[in-house]
């Protein structure tokens, strides 16, 4: 808040801005903070200290948290390895498995709309000599199962497909993918950073061998995550971080007890409240979707509506560029798939992979709803977006041409 305030000048107070970016991060739940606080001082201790009660107490807290995290995905606590977050978990899963089995297997399968940390890890594996297949997705954002089956080889070590997409919120058919991988005896990893605590997951029912989890996406603290690593049949990985052999040698380093405790509490709360929260968020999302569709012409949903996280909406507002729109709706905190929001000048690779035309990808907004979103917030968002889209369309040469019946594709644009 200091940074926002310092830069701000004329900028609005962040507290007056409605937060609709829950896929970026979530506020730490006050109940989680309360659970964490004692472990910073009065209950401090190194959970790896075996010789005194400070260590024992910290260890007990860590193991309790580990059990909560395991429970939310139907795993055994021994299968949970703490990491710094989902990026590290994804790195550890892919590099760890690929490197361990490299004598026999040299092939990795993933898909094109994965998070950058999976795609970038795969690129590194290619540099190490591994072959990587990047599966395309269908226009609704889902992986084609026949395409996956055809891509599996005798040399495939691991398939990595995310559970829920961070931009468009679509849910991949991970149960079906798990069954295919188990049948073909290939390890299945899923990046579930966006899915854990939002939709029911069970690593055994879904035949998941490795799963990446992040705490700060589920109202836990930043800086902590986990990798689920199956014990039966055993998945072996080469660690990325070497040291004292903590986390069964898979991830050395002293555990951050307060963060682990917060992560555990966040999972406990999510498990208890998931069903009600999902129902509430779906109703809010429907209100937002219908409200926008009613108020604003020429807008399009990106990604499947049915197979989707309850709290995600991603829409293209034709003829209005995304960053320009975000500047107008400054009372809303959202993100855009427009090129202008990133250092590269390319619009969202996720939307492009769905076959969304570049000009529409530039006009997209991601609206993320969560635990603290209210009906009032939604109504405010509809009002604000409808007003700004209307104002900016009056200023848009493309809108004017579309109104005059000019086919925008008939114009020889000078792409720069």
């Amino acid at each position: 808040m200091d940074v926002l305030d310092a830069e701000a000048g004329a900028k609005p107070d962040p507290r007056s801005v409605v937060y609709l970016d829950y896929q970026a991060t979530t506020p730490t739940d006050p109940r989680v903070i309360e659970a964490m606080l004692p472990y910073f001082n009065e209950r401090f201790g190194n959970p790896h200290s075996r010789s005194h009660p400070y260590g024992w107490r910290a260890e007990e807290a860590v193991e309790k948290a580990r059990a909560e995290i395991a429970a939310i995905i139907g795993a055994d606590p021994k299968e949970i390895v703490f990491t710094s977050g989902a990026t590290e978990s994804n790195n550890l899963a892919l590099k760890g498995v690929a490197r361990f089995y490299r004598d026999k297997k040299n092939h990795v399968i993933t898909e094109v709309t994965e998070h950058k940390c999976v795609l970038d890890t795969c690129r590194h594996l290619e540099q190490e000599g591994f072959e990587v297949t990047y599966l395309p997705v269908q226009p609704n954002g889902l992986v084609d199962l026949d395409g996956l089956k055809a891509a599996i080889r005798d040399t495939t070590a691991i398939v990595s497909v995310m559970a829920a997409n961070n931009e468009i919120g679509v849910l991949q058919p991970i149960r079906e993918i798990g069954a295919i991988c188990r049948e073909r005896q290939v390890f299945f990893h899923t990046d579930a950073a966006q899915a854990v605590g939002k939709i029911p997951l069970d690593v055994n029912e879904m035949n998941i061998d490795l799963m990446s989890i992040s705490a700060h996406k589920i109202y836990g603290p930043m800086g902590i995550g986990a990798l689920y690593v199956r014990r039966r049949p055993r998945v072996r990985i080469v660690p990325l971080i070497n040291g004292g052999g903590q986390e069964r040698g898979m991830r050395s380093g002293t555990l951050a007890t307060p963060l682990v405790v917060g992560f555990g509490e966040a999972c406990r709360l999510a498990a208890a409240e998931m069903a009600d929260e999902a129902k509430r968020l779906m109703a809010l999302r429907q209100r937002l979707y219908e409200g926008l569709m009613k108020r604003v012409p020429c807008i399009y949903l990106n990604g499947d509506l049915e197979h989707r996280l309850p709290g995600n909406l991603n829409m293209s507002f034709a003829y209005v560029e995304g960053e320009g729109l975000m500047m107008g709706i400054k009372d809303l905190a959202v993100s855009s798939g427009s090129a202008c929001t990133s250092a590269s000048l390319e619009p969202s690779y996720v939307l492009r992979a769905l076959g969304v035309a570049e000009e529409l990808a530039h006009t997209s907004l991601r609206l993320g709803l969560g635990r603290f979103t209210t009906e009032e917030d939604i109504d405010h968002a509809i009002e604000s977006i409808a007003r700004e889209v209307g104002r900016l369309r009056e200023m848009s040469p493309l809108w004017e041409m579309a109104q005059e019946g000019v086919d925008l594709k008939s114009i020889a644009w000078a792409e720069h």
């Binding site: 830069e7 701000a8 107008g328 000048l345 040469p397 004017e400 000078a414």
Partner: protein, 131 residues
Amino acid sequence: MAYSDKVVDHYENPRNVGSLDKDSTNVGTGLVGAPACGDVMKLQILVNEQGIIEDAKFKTFGCGSAIASSSLVTEWVKGKTLEEAVSIKNTEIAQHLALPPVKIHCSVLAEDAIKAAVSDYRKKRVTKAAE
């Protein structure tokens, strides 16, 4: 990213939004950029018999910096001769609006829009003279 006060001002109170009659021989129209690249600017100038730009209008699809750059140039070209207008440099636009490096292309596009509008106007005059 923080926008400069001038960008915010032009974005919130854009000058000279609108359209002139593109078929009029006194009007030059420049349409630059591409929807696939995320910015398109339309700049129109109304030129009097003395060769002075009397009026200018714009419409822009793009980010706040693109809208501000085009809004600014409508102010700058008014009252100028065609020669003076085409001598406006993108660096002056970028400097005036305090555009960060990633937004320099917006000012380049605005400079291109002026040149395109002037060139369209001149082409029309040549055609008219030939008639």
